[in-house]
């Protein structure tokens, strides 16, 4: 089964072997790039269909179920919808407002999509399968690229010369900036415990076997579990997914900062957003859920890339589930959550991670409840403070 696990690596090595020496580095890069650009937009296309169908089912309706293979009558339960959507966005007229800043308006989608692809390239998709392996600064690269996407939000909102777009862009940047801090702080615990910023090393540390059966995923520790939940919430906010999708709230701002985009540029924004979601889910998987490793040793025979993509699909389904369930947060609730709840919890998480490190030689049965208690108490206190602001409203109806 090791051969199936390494099938893509061996495939790439074989192709490179066919080429002359001088071209090989360049060709290796091109193969990695084309693999990423084929796989992740493919997942994106399927995600759009699955999201629409699942959201429909959550809302007691079937979702798209007509488009199958185009030009035939085969329905495929609607899974060909992404072909129709792709053709539509490619052939739609590209409307640019007359007063818009043309250069900035044109460049903004690319400034979103290129960092998203770059961020996807550092993910260790399988054993020996990270396209870019920065041994010193893998995670830092990811966060730097994530910060670069905020510029595109601003460019899109400002260049449209539309006050709704600008409002959406401002809110979007404020949200992304606020939630970067819990994001980075919660991942900092992992870096602390592993001792390296390289994503490949972090995954390899999590393949260590514990209690004979478990792989040592970080989510199985108290600081890892809390860090995972915090990272997940911050990731949801960074990717502008409901319940944090205020910048693109359809009922309020039409489409927020990409109101004035149509056709292919809108498709690029859509793609960039979803790719960002995949990238940040991928990092969450790498940091907390053991990357490409299996949870139990008896499941090690399943190829590593299959585990990674399985977990990624699980994340996507969870995000869709959240979208179908939760209402949107108001902007002040959003900010309060980031600065007054998640930031203190992240700092406490750092302390708990330190405690876990220094009690490494204690019995696990004592460490785990201790860590959990050290986290649960502040969580409960903060929740009380938050809940005291949301008093039950009493309505008086006309009789």
């Amino acid at each position: 089964m090791a051969s199936l696990d390494q099938i893509f690596v061996t495939l790439k090595a074989w192709v490179l072997g066919l080429l002359p020496e001088t071209v090989q580095p360049f060709a290796g890069v091109m193969i990695s790039i084309s693999a990423i650009m084929a796989v992740f937009p493919g997942i994106f296309a399927l995600t759009t269909v699955v999201e629409r169908k699942l959201l429909g089912r959550f809302q007691n309706r079937p979702g798209p179920n007509r488009v199958g293979i185009p030009l035939t009558k085969i329905r495929l339960a609607g899974f060909g919808q992404f072909i129709a959507d792709g053709i539509k966005s490619l052939t739609k007229e590209d409307v640019v407002p007359r007063n818009a800043d043309k250069v900035v308006h044109f460049i903004a989608p690319f400034v979103l999509v290129v960092p998203s692809f770059l961020a996807l390239s550092v993910l260790p998709v399988g054993r020996n399968m990270a396209a870019l392996n920065f041994t010193e600064t893998g995670l830092l690269f990811f966060f730097a690229i994530g910060a670069a996407t905020e510029i595109s939000v601003f460019m899109a909102g400002w260049s449209s010369r539309n006050k709704y777009s600008l409002l959406g862009a401002m809110r979007g940047i404020a949200q992304m900036l606020s939630y970067e801090i819990p994001l980075i702080l919660s991942s900092l615990t992992v870096v602390m415990m592993v001792g390296s910023l390289s994503l490949v090393t972090i995954v390899e540390k999590q393949t260590a076997v514990q209690w004979g059966v478990f792989h040592n995923w970080h989510v199985f520790t108290p600081w890892g579990f809390a860090g995972f939940l915090l990272f997940l919430t911050a990731a949801c906010a960074e990717a502008n997914r409901t319940p944090f999708d205020l910048p693109e709230a359809e009922s309020e701002l039409i489409a927020g900062y990409f109101t004035e985009y149509s056709g292919f540029k809108f498709a690029l924004f859509f793609l960039g957003e979803y790719l960002g979601m995949f990238a940040i889910s991928g990092v969450a998987i790498t940091l907390f859920l053991g990357g490409w490793s299996a949870p139990f040793t008896f499941l090690d025979w399943v190829p590593s890339w299959l585990w990674f993509f399985g977990k990624l699909v699980g994340f996507i389904l969870f995000f869709i589930w959240l979208r179908g369930t939760l209402p949107r947060l108001k902007v002040d609730q959003l900010m309060n959550l980031a600065w007054k709840f998640m930031l203190p919890m992240c700092l406490i998480n750092l302390v708990v991670a330190g405690v876990w490190h220094y009690t490494a030689d204690w019995n696990d049965l004592i460490r785990w409840p201790l860590g959990a208690a050290l986290l649960a108490l502040p969580y409960w206190i903060f929740s009380r403070r938050f809940e005291s602001r949301f008093q039950t409203r009493t309505y008086r109806y006309a009789s």
């Binding site: 966060f143 910060a147 670069a148 905020e150 510029i151 910023l197 008093q391």
Partner: protein, 175 residues
């Protein structure tokens, strides 16, 4: 002077010149961002990964957005009427003087002579940077932390005072 360095240097300097000469203020700030990215790529060219990514994270991710927010919240960002040409020669003179001083200082310093040319300089592990920060340089670190906290508190105080100046908004629960 390799091709990569030439391209990156051209990008950085070109973006900086554009940042100075463009009419639209937001375009200027975006070009300044591009020149900061060019700097980061120059660090990457030299093999200093940590410096490069921290440069992007801090400058592009925070400082550029700060500049952009400042431009947007204080003025409309439209092009000012007429060219601002007073003080052009004075400015040029000052800039040349600064450049000359820096070039003389860096060129005559001992660090430049000690660096081996074009050899594989071992990359500084990030762990060493961290060790130094909390070991030898812990006092400057804490002082900077205090400075940042003071700045944040000052901002909050200013914002609160402005909010107190406005009439109080309606309370949350009218009942």
């Amino acid at each position: 002077m390799t091709l990569a360095f030439a391209i990156l240097a051209g990008l950085t300097v070109g973006a900086a010149i554009a940042a100075m000469t463009l009419r639209n203020l937001v375009h200027c700030s975006l070009c300044a961002t591009v020149s900061l990215v060019g700097l980061a790529l120059l660090y990457l060219n030299l093999g200093a990964e940590f410096a490069a990514f921290v440069q992007i994270l801090v400058y592009v991710g925070a400082v550029a957005i700060l500049i952009v927010f400042a431009v947007l919240l204080t003025r409309s960002g439209e092009a000012p009427a007429g060219r601002v040409s007073y003080g052009l020669w004075t400015g040029l003179g000052v800039a040349l003087a600064v450049f000359g001083t820096l070039a003389w200082a860096i060129g005559g310093s001992s660090a430049l002579k000690a660096l081996p040319k074009d050899s594989a300089v071992p990359a500084l592990p990030v762990k060493d940077v961290g060790d130094k920060l909390v070991g030898d340089f812990v006092l400057p670190l804490q002082v900077i932390a205090l400075l940042l906290t003071a700045a944040m508190l000052g901002a909050i105080v200013i914002a609160m005072r402005e909010a107190k100046g406005n009439p109080q908004p309606a309370t949350r629960n009218p009942q």
